[in-house]
């Protein structure tokens, strides 16, 4: 029966990433029986209690009280926020359901005349997101930021935005920012900021009290350009990737180049130079070698996840993308989470993770054709919508 078509279907299918075991089926049967029993019992109780006045909130529609059900926490997040460019920049930011790809809402800056900052949405717990909005004005050939504000919003069980609130201390003034990082409980937000020609700094915002703690570069000393902020030790430490520029003449202790560092007490503020060195890029070996495009630390602080671009042997352009778990003490790779062979060149959009560090999204592929957009699921990309992420600028969940 049409062997060519059958071959094609077989090529497309590949191998299932996981097995369905008899144990899983057995658990499903037990769960089904419990559900049937509970449903039957509930029906009896309901019938018996019809004469009793029932509290009205028992019949509130599911999801109307806000927040994603706790069961979602055990699987991939139910919704993700996506910025996509349809025709031309700046694009539109929407909420999509993971399972269906359906757009459930559109994210908008509540501050009039402001726009969402590039990669300016940071997830906290799967249903809470922080949003950076900025106003700017044209000054000659450039745009100058005139104000930045941080809002937060929560998704209902149906993926709708419940409303926006200005975060206490979220009026940051005329600073530029980009990708932020929130602790899983949403109580702290790390924001990389730059203002005019001043060196970059990191602002740690306590979202309950509005307190600011600023980590600065000191002129005349080693300069740190922090990126890839991520929280470690379950929100107690802040890690970042940094390219260190040593001062002319060289300070005795200064080690230049790309490195990963950590702030032990992020809420105090101080000098970025006082952060602790975790590992140097030059210490990386094996699969972690290559150009590092993105990185993060796992929430328990036990590993770095790096996205490394490699050139195949003898080639001058990168043709491989590896997402690798690296030991932060030694720089040795622990595990390759994903390997993509992209041929001659790489088209790279972004890498992001949920705050738990378990569900990582990658949008990257070959320079021509489809750019797979999906989350890393047992060494494969489980595709999100749209599956071709060529026009997707950023996603967060």
């Amino acid at each position: 029966m049409d062997p060519q078509l059958r071959d094609l279907l077989q090529t497309a299918v590949g191998d299932p990433p996981r097995r369905v075991t008899i144990e899983a089926v057995r658990r499903g049967v037990a769960r089904r029986r419990r559900t049937e029993w509970a449903t039957g019992t509930a029906a009896v109780v309901l019938l018996a209690g019809l004469g009793i006045v029932l509290p009205g909130h028992l019949f509130a529609p599911r999801g109307s009280t806000g927040g994603v059900s706790s069961s979602a926490a055990t699987g991939a997040p139910r919704y993700y926020v996506q910025t996509i460019i349809n025709q031309q920049p700046p694009g539109v930011t929407v909420v999509r359901a993971t399972a269906t790809g359906k757009v459930t809402d559109t994210v908008r800056c509540p501050w009039p005349k402001s726009q969402i900052v590039d990669e300016g949405v940071a997830p906290a717990d799967g249903s809470t997101f922080f949003l950076a909005c900025q106003r700017s004005r044209r000054a000659g050939p450039q745009f100058v930021v005139t104000g930045t504000r941080i809002y937060w919003f929560q998704l209902t069980g149906l993926g709708r935005i419940q409303g926006y609130s200005l975060v206490p201390g979220g009026n940051l003034g005329p600073v530029s920012t980009f990708r932020m990082a929130a602790t899983p409980d949403g109580t702290q937000l790390a924001i990389p900021v730059t203002q005019g020609k001043a060196p970059p700094s990191v602002l740690v915002l306590n979202t309950r009290t509005g307190a600011h703690a600023v980590w600065r570069n000191i002129p005349g000393t080693a300069q740190f350009g922090p990126a890839d902020l991520s929280w470690a030790r379950h929100g107690r430490e802040l890690a970042f990737r940094v390219t260190v520029t040593c001062p002319p003449g060289g300070a005795g202790q200064c080690v230049s180049g790309q490195q990963w560092r950590v702030l032990r007490h992020p809420a105090t503020g101080g000098q970025l130079a006082s952060s602790k060195l975790l590992v140097l890029k030059s210490q990386f070996t094996g699969h972690a070698l290559g150009y590092i495009n993105d990185s993060m630390i796992t929430p328990d602080g036990s590993a770095l996840i790096v996205v490394a671009l490699h050139s195949p042997r003898g080639a001058s352009t990168p043709g491989n993308i590896d997402v690798v778990k690296v030991d932060p003490a030694t720089g040795h790779p622990i595990r390759v989470l994903l390997h993509l062979n992209t041929g001659n060149g790489v088209s790279y959009e972004f890498f992001s993770s949920d705050p738990s560090g378990r569900f990582m999204i990658l949008d990257a592929g070959p320079p021509q054709g489809a750019n797979p957009n999906g989350w890393i699921d047992h060494g494969r990309l489980a595709l999100l919508t749209p599956a071709n992420g060529r026009n997707v600028v950023y996603e967060a969940w």
């Binding site: 996981r18 899983a24 699987g75 699921d377």
Partner: protein
């Protein structure tokens, strides 16, 4: 129940991958495919004693799977995706090319109607006879034949699939 487990366990071990592949062609998503197969097996288990005496128990399981999928697609929310721990191993081979084929085939299959997709997958991929497909879908064999014909025509006219088939021929 426990007495039924051995035969059922053997069936699951032997056929779950094939069932998952069929489910992926229907849903276009491995997580949903796994969920679909697991749900079908959970529903088949209590009736296994009766099912295993049939000529082909797999037909029954596929029927449950198709019915479940049909129910899911009517529901607004299709349930949670199964949990996944941190990945343990890396994929090998030319994943980008593989993804390109997967995207093209999945896109083409999604453009078919639900029934056309089911008929095509069961008939072409699972190599079931028209009578068996009719039994799974609970419809006359003539309907299977006409649906198959329309599905094939639509698929061959799809540029994504036509291009891939042409490359295969070369």
């Amino acid at each position: 129940m426990d007495a039924q487990v051995p035969g059922f366990a053997q069936f699951v071990a032997a056929r779950e991958r094939a069932l998952q592949r069929t489910a992926w062609l229907l849903t276009g998503d491995w997580a949903l495919a796994e969920d679909l197969v697991q749900t079908a097996l959970v529903r088949a288990w209590p009736r296994w004693d009766r099912i295993r005496h049939r000529d082909d128990p797999e037909i029954y399981v596929r029927r449950v799977m198709l019915n479940t999928w049909s129910t899911w697609t009517r529901r607004r929310w299709r349930g949670e995706k199964p949990a996944a721990d941190v990945p343990e191993h890396a994929a090998t081979g030319d994943l980008a090319a593989e993804v390109a084929v997967r995207l093209a085939v999945r896109g083409a299959l999604q453009s078919l109607s639900q029934r056309q997709r089911a008929v095509l997958v069961l008939r072409v991929y699972d190599d079931l006879s028209e009578a068996q497909v009719a039994e799974v879908l609970d419809c006359p064999a003539g309907t299977v034949k006409s649906t198959m014909s329309r599905a094939l025509a639509q698929l061959r006219a799809d540029p994504r699939v036509a291009d891939l088939l042409e490359r295969k021929v070369r």
